[in-house]
């Protein structure tokens, strides 16, 4: 209550300032009148009484001033006055203001955007009840990075029944699924979740009910808020409706609240189905009983009162029995060696699980560093510009000091000006950040993984931005504000300003630092651009252009074995009949995105050295595969129709494989075999193909072996259809879809181009290249502005001196050199410092570069060349102006 009263009073003194002042005047006037009256009563003449009363009372203005102080709103009043003054000043120099605002907006906005991303991806807790009690159960190997996060369904069941430290253990699996049929069909993201998923995660639905034990009736679905909005237009009647998912009718039983995305940060499932629906959706593959199918993450909620450490100890005790009973085994029944080696591990899961986090940790760290440097450069630049302004305003400052303004008060005014700029910059920066963080998330997404992060501004982001604003103000405002106050006012008042040595040292130091930091950015941009370029020009070993890839999931419609073989045979001939089609083939995997499996093969006549386990990448392909993707067969032959199931088992290997196992000897005709677990016959090598990259463009091509699909040990449940065309590959998609659906209208088919696939693995490189180039350009522009400003200012200050020199016979060239000399010195000093910084930071980006030395001579030369070119141009313009000035005018300059 009292607090409110006080607040009301303060507000009144602030907002109704005139009224308060008038009252004070009335009050004092009344007092004076009473005083005068009492003096008249004591016999003084009215005039004398009035004069004496005034004398006795003291200065009315002082009293009013003191009352104002007592109201404690004075600083706010002064602050608003300062803000108004600053706004007027900035409005008078729009060029400076624009540069300042834009550079601050970029610096602050880029920081806010990266922080927004980091906050959403790494720092934010899941929007569920008590996220702190969630832990992920993993297998770890002491002394090694990474962890085993996937387990079999039997392991999940075992743990759920026998681990008392968790109140719930739950799991899920994600899959893309078709919703609806015919024209309205769309691919959506689904999570198939275990019984305890929702209660364990601590999430309640916004409408209807969540999923629990759905064994009775597994064809029920809970849908996300987003999908509810998109598909049902927020109709509350959606609950109870039926949707066709994967061709099967599911009943919607609930809608999750907005912002709920499950347990994986970056994912956004549209529907949640019971884990049991897996059997409905993929009737062919029952993975629930298999110990060898490790496909499920395990997350537990700690029982109330159980600490993470206690749970870890408990899990450690249970672990060996769990692995022994439910771990994967080979055909002879031996427990998988790597699973045997795993120790139990718990990871906090309050912030959710995320593969993105690991994938983007390194690039985000680099981007974070880049935006901090950009911000520093912007601050240094602005500090320098403000310093020049402060020097120009010295006479004003001196006048204020001479009239009795306190230094603290002037400092406050200077900082207020900076704060006004920083606030303006932040406002623009926040707009930039909103746009930029959205762009960033779309750039992080690839054709395969759509990343969706909730990147609305929240308290953490706003707090961070506010902190940056204040820091910015101090960083660029303090030096100019202090330097303005440092010197004595006399010489300025005497109008001797041209004789005063400026605070040149401070501004030159700022400039050197700015150039050094800019070099860092430009060198980074050079490095990442060249990395990207190098990766783009990597010899893939195949030609991804003009190849359409269609993933066909034949098992979904129940086709297996001979039925599917017939289907693909017929499909091939129909596709070949399409105009523009040059080659049609099939494979279980494509080189980059949906690549292959790997294992250690035994090779005829090759004894591996002790401990050597050379992995070979493998793929099952149909005849024509190599022609379709443009991979050259260097020796031997391609598979053909004779390499059928009962025929002699054959294989094709790549050049690296041939070289490694057979050296200069003949590889054709030799035999290789899969490990015993596959129960496959030894295969004769009939062809050798050129090396091609797998999965990652950075890794050199691995050993590789290809088998005919017809002879594949495990018949794949889906196939990639590869179509080489003469035109744009995706243009052919609808024709291919039509042909596929002519065999079965519900056959799931997804399209991409092989080039998109290659593109997808370059996401982070492209991101870094684009962003570092952008910020490098910003740094260059700011550096140019800074240098231009400083040189212009120093030229202006030396106008009369230069005029004298010219009048006394100095050539224009020597004047030009005189001015340029200083800039050259500053730029080279900055470059030297910058190079040192580049050298000390190379380790930071090592994992992100390819084919480039981050601190290599070429990189540094390019960066330094670009930077000094821009810088010297910026210095040359004012220098030339100085050199070509008319000496008579220059001498009259003051």
């Amino acid at each position: 209550m009292r607090l409110l009263d006080r607040l009301r009073l303060r507000l009144r003194s602030l907002l109704r300032r005139d009224e308060v002042e008038r009252e004070l005047l009335d009050e004092v006037g009344f007092h004076l009148e009473e005083l005068t009256r009492s003096k008249i009563e004591r016999g003084l003449a009215p005039e004398a009484a009035r004069a004496e009363a005034r004398r006795e009372f003291g200065g009315v203005d002082q009293v009013r001033e003191e009352c104002r102080d007592r109201r404690r709103t004075r600083w706010i009043e002064e602050f608003t006055a300062d803000v108004r003054y600053a706004l007027r000043l900035f409005a008078r120099s729009p060029g400076f203001t624009a540069v300042a605002l834009v550079s601050l907006a970029l610096g602050i906005g880029a920081n806010a955007a990266i922080f927004t991303l980091v906050e959403a991806l790494i720092l934010r807790e899941l929007p569920v009840r008590e996220p702190g009690a969630l832990v992920q159960i993993v297998g770890v190997r002491p002394g090694r990075d990474g962890a085993q996060g996937s387990f079999s369904y039997p392991t999940f069941r075992w743990l759920r029944e026998k681990a008392p430290m968790f109140s719930h253990v739950f799991t899920w699996t994600s899959r893309k699924i078709e919703a609806g049929e015919g024209e309205g069909m769309e691919w959506i993201a689904s999570d198939l979740v275990s019984d305890d998923y929702f209660v364990g995660l601590g999430a309640a639905p916004a409408l209807g009910r969540a999923l629990g034990d759905e064994r009775q009736q597994p064809s029920v679905a809970v849908i996300s808020h987003r999908w509810w909005r998109r598909r049902f237009d927020r109709d509350p009647g959606a609950v109870g409706r039926t949707v066709r998912l994967g061709g099967i009718p599911f009943t919607v039983v609930g809608v999750m609240p907005e912002g709920f995305f499950g347990a994986v940060v970056g994912s956004s499932p549209d529907v949640f189905l019971p884990l049991g629906a897996q059997t409905l959706l993929s009737p062919g593959a029952d993975r629930f009983a298999q110990v060898n199918a490790v496909w499920l993450p395990l997350v537990g909620r700690l029982r109330a009162g159980v600490s993470e450490a206690q749970a870890a100890t408990g899990l450690e005790r249970l672990w060996p029995a769990m692995i022994e009973e439910t771990g994967p085994r080979d055909r002879e029944g031996n427990l998988n060696a790597s699973f045997r080696a795993f120790k139990s591990g718990l990871r906090p899961a309050a912030n959710g699980l995320s593969g993105l986090r690991q994938r983007f940790q390194a690039p985000l760290r680099v981007l974070g560093a880049v935006v901090v440097v950009v911000w520093l450069v912007a601050c240094l630049n602005l500090s320098n510009l403000m310093l020049a302004r402060a020097i120009k305003r010295r006479r004003e400052t001196a006048l204020r000091l001479a009239l009795g303004a306190g230094r603290g008060r002037l400092l406050r005014q200077g900082l207020t000006e900076s704060l006004v700029l920083a606030t303006g910059g932040t406002a623009l920066g926040v707009l930039f950040a909103l746009w930029f963080s959205r762009i960033l998330t779309t750039w992080l997404s690839t054709s395969r993984d759509t990343i969706s992060l909730d990147i609305r501004a929240n308290a953490a982001v706003l707090g961070y931005t506010a902190a940056i604003t204040v820091l910015t103000t101090l960083l660029f405002g303090l030096l100019p504000a202090v330097s303005a106050l440092r010197s004595s006012p006399q010489p300025f008042l005497k109008d001797d300003s041209h004789r005063i040595a400026g605070t040149g040292a401070a501004s030159r130091a700022l400039l050197v630092a700015q150039i050094a930091l800019s070099l860092l950015l430009v060198a980074g941009a050079t490095t990442f651009l060249r990395t990207f370029q190098n990766l783009l020009s990597v010899d893939l070993g195949f030609e991804p252009d003009r190849v359409l890839v269609a993933s066909v999931d034949h098992e979904r419609v129940g086709w297996k074995g001979d039925t599917s073989a017939r289907f693909y045979g017929d499909l091939e001939s129909r596709l070949r009949a399409l105009p523009g089609v040059e080659e049609v083939s099939f494979a279980s995997g494509t080189p980059i995105q949906n690549c292959c499996w790997w294992d250690v093969l035994s090779v005829e006549g090759y004894e591996p050295a002790k401990g050597e386990r050379p992995n070979t990448f493998m793929n099952s392909v149909a005849p024509g595969f190599f022609r379709a993707i443009g991979q050259r067969i260097v020796r031997g032959r391609d598979f053909d129709a004779h390499d059928a199931q009962g025929a002699r088992a054959v294989a094709i290997v790549n050049q690296s494989f041939a070289l490694k196992f057979f050296g200069n000897g003949e590889a054709l005709g030799r035999t290789i075999a899969l490990p015993a677990a596959y129960e496959a016959r030894p295969m004769e090598i009939v062809g050798i193909v050129e090396d091609a990259r797998f999965r990652d463009l950075r890794d050199p091509p691995p050993l590789a072996a290809y088998f005919p699909i017809a002879q594949a040990p495990d018949r794949p449940s889906s196939l990639e259809v590869l179509v080489r065309t003469s035109g744009a590959p995706l243009a052919l998609a609808s024709a291919v879809r039509q042909r596929v659906h002519s065999f079965h209208p519900a056959m799931p088919v997804k399209f991409r181009s092989l080039a998109q696939e290659v593109d997808g693995v370059l996401t982070q490189e492209r991101l870094l290249a684009l962003l570092s180039a952008f910020f490098g350009a910003v740094a260059l522009a700011l550096g140019a502005i800074g240098l231009y400003g400083v040189v212009s200012y120093s030229v202006a200050r030396r106008t009369s001196e230069l005029g004298v020199r010219v009048a006394l016979g100095a050539s224009r060239a020597s004047v030009l050199w005189l001015v340029m000399r200083q800039s050259l010195l500053l730029v080279s000093l900055g470059l030297a410092l910058g190079c040192t910084a580049v050298f000390s930071l190379t380790g930071f980006v090592k994992s992100l570069v390819f084919g480039v030395q981050p601190a290599g001579a070429a990189t540094l030369a390019i960066a330094a060349g670009v930077l000094s070119g821009v810088a010297l141009l910026a210095a040359w313009l004012p220098a030339r102006r100085a050199a070509s000035a008319d000496p008579v005018r220059a001498l009259r300059y003051e």
């Binding site: 009263d5 009073l9 009252e23 009050e27 009344f30 009372f57 003291g58 200065g59 002082q62 003191e66």
Partner: protein, 110 residues
């Protein structure tokens, strides 16, 4: 500028609070009353009275309203709030303790 009229720092608050404790008064009357009651020993510097009143008002210890005086002039009358009464009690006991202590020292030194 006689020495006796100088007020010990901080006592002006107490004097004001005590003076208006019984009855709302305007600034002029407060000054008069303090001077009268103290037998002309304490003279409130007019220049410091109004700032003090303003501060006490900001603290929420006194509140002000405009009323008519006995000779039909509008003046700003100050009266004690509940918080002000508590504050007065506090300062009063402080004052008693302090003056008692000073008295002891002065007596003892004699």
């Amino acid at each position: 500028m006689g020495k006796p009229s100088d007020l010990i720092q901080g006592t002006l608050d107490l004097l004001i609070l005590k003076t208006i404790a019984l009855q709302a008064m305007h600034g002029w009357r407060i000054a008069q009353r303090i001077q009268q009651v103290s037998g002309d020993v304490l003279q409130v510097q007019q220049g410091s009275l109004y700032p003090a009143l303003h501060r006490l008002e900001q603290e929420g210890w006194i509140k002000a309203d405009w009323r008519e005086t006995e000779n039909n002039r509008r003046a700003k009358f100050y009266s004690l709030t509940a918080a002000g009464r508590r504050q007065m009690e506090k300062e009063l006991s402080n004052w008693k303790r302090l003056s008692g202590a000073v008295g002891l020292v002065v007596e003892g030194a004699r």
